[in-house]
Subunit: 276 residues, 2 copies
């Protein structure tokens, strides 16, 4: 808006720098990632220091005048770009005219332990970014304190993951690139029970005592948790299948498990006391 | 296999007849729909009379020899097609070499009432086929007795919906093209409480009595349930948001609600007795 010249080509330096963040290797080097659409950009802006740059089309500048104004007022560098340039930048079919660049925000395992967490979600070997982002959103909604992506999992900064988290990547602390073994050891030292979500477990969710602080470990959508990860956990629990479905998908299973813990922890006798 | 000539062109009559089922209008006329991939085809085959035809590539005929053999033995018309022809037929990028044609299987509201259902999911104005299919899968897993698609909802026979149901469209009875008002009246007459899942409700899930037979009404992912639908229900309930997420997505919210009912109905004093 005020004074920013219209960028008309994707060869523009700021655009090229942002565009390369579509690739994991460049995200890692630059420690930056893309946030598409008004929901993600709004949530990024709400976290001090998270949003670094904002690309907007002239149309979106009008449609989201308040958001763009607040970004400028917060010191975010705002670039106005032609919608063709936006299309080059965007990973989605409908970028809605707004793409932000945000600073990486993963924290260490030690930082998560320092939060004295009561509920943590661990994603082990989760490969689909849309599923991973949905689990981050669910973990946020269920009041989890952190999400941990073990080293064989998808990059949480993948644009699809960011998008399907609906802004929750800016709400929760998360950890990347740690081993499952280190994760389990750290969370156990923080006083959490480590629960493997495993369809083959003999213990059904309704029979498990979930009143204590817990870390849930979720595996790959297609092949679940490998034996060695189940063995690392203190207990394994299955979501009961009452009908004829073979299984639940990852995000819906995580929703049921995390909400079961959230509820039990807030019930009388639970670790968050009653009322919550 | 045995004697079926290889189909090398999408202009083949059987292929054309199947291909047009990608369009809702033709599905409606022909009362048939497409089922892609081994999971869906296996589940279709398990329901007597559900699977009518099967298209397979030579590769898939080898990979799924048992499945194809069982289909032939059950009287399913098996067509062997070149993989180019399969690509023309398939709605997915990776059709996995197998596409079935199944008969429509929706039932009437009266038929659902006749089942004396204890748990039903109602989708009102749900437009995304992937979400709708995931809810069918969740409803199946949670032991729901039926799913009802009110008239403004997506077509359950949409290939994306069928695919994301992971075979559950063949497990549960479902109803299409009925009004929300007729649905609520019928379910209430069957003794079910009608519960609107509404983010703005003052009653949180953990405080609701879910021990009784219930029908959950879920609205459109983006704008939820309109006032008039909430007003039709006996009670409205929200999934509590303990963290900072604005909401849950449709499928994860449905998972939490349906499993909460499944659990309460099976607890001591619940309508399914204890133990379940």
């Amino acid at each position: 808006m005020a004074g920013s010249p219209l960028i008309t080509t994707a060869r523009n330096r700021s655009v090229s720098s942002a565009r390369r963040l579509g690739k994991r290797a460049f995200r890692k080097t630059d420690r930056r990632f893309l946030v598409e659409g008004p929901t993600g950009v709004t949530e990024a802006l709400a976290e001090p220091g998270a949003l670094l740059e904002l690309f907007v089309t002239p149309d979106a500048t009008e449609r989201h005048a308040d958001l763009v104004g607040r970004a400028e007022a917060s010191g975010v560098v705002v670039h106005t770009v032609l919608s063709d340039v936006m299309d080059e930048l965007a990973q989605t079919v409908t970028p809605q005219g707004l793409i932000g660049v945000a600073a990486h925000r993963d924290v260490s395992l030690e930082a998560v332990v320092g939060l004295q967490p009561l509920l943590v979600a661990v994603l082990a070997n989760v490969r689909d970014p849309g599923n991973a982002g949905t689990v981050v959103r669910v973990a946020d909604a269920a009041g989890a304190d952190a999400v941990i992506f073990t080293d064989a999992s998808v990059d949480p900064y993948n644009p699809k993951c960011v998008r399907s988290s609906a802004g929750s990547v800016f709400h929760l602390p998360f950890v990347v690139g740690v081993t499952a073994a280190d994760t389990v050891a750290a969370l156990r030292s923080a006083g959490l029970s480590v629960i493997a979500a495993a369809g083959a477990s003999s213990l059904a969710l309704d029979s498990a005592d979930l009143s204590h602080p817990a870390a849930w470990v979720f595996g790959n959508e297609a092949w679940g948790l490998p034996e060695e990860l189940v063995a690392l956990a203190d207990v394994s629990v299955r979501v009961p299948i009452h009908g004829r479905a073979e299984s639940l998908n990852l995000a819906t299973a995580a929703a049921v498990c995390l909400y079961a813990s959230a509820s039990a922890q807030r019930a009388p006798g639970g670790c968050r006391g009653s009322g919550g």
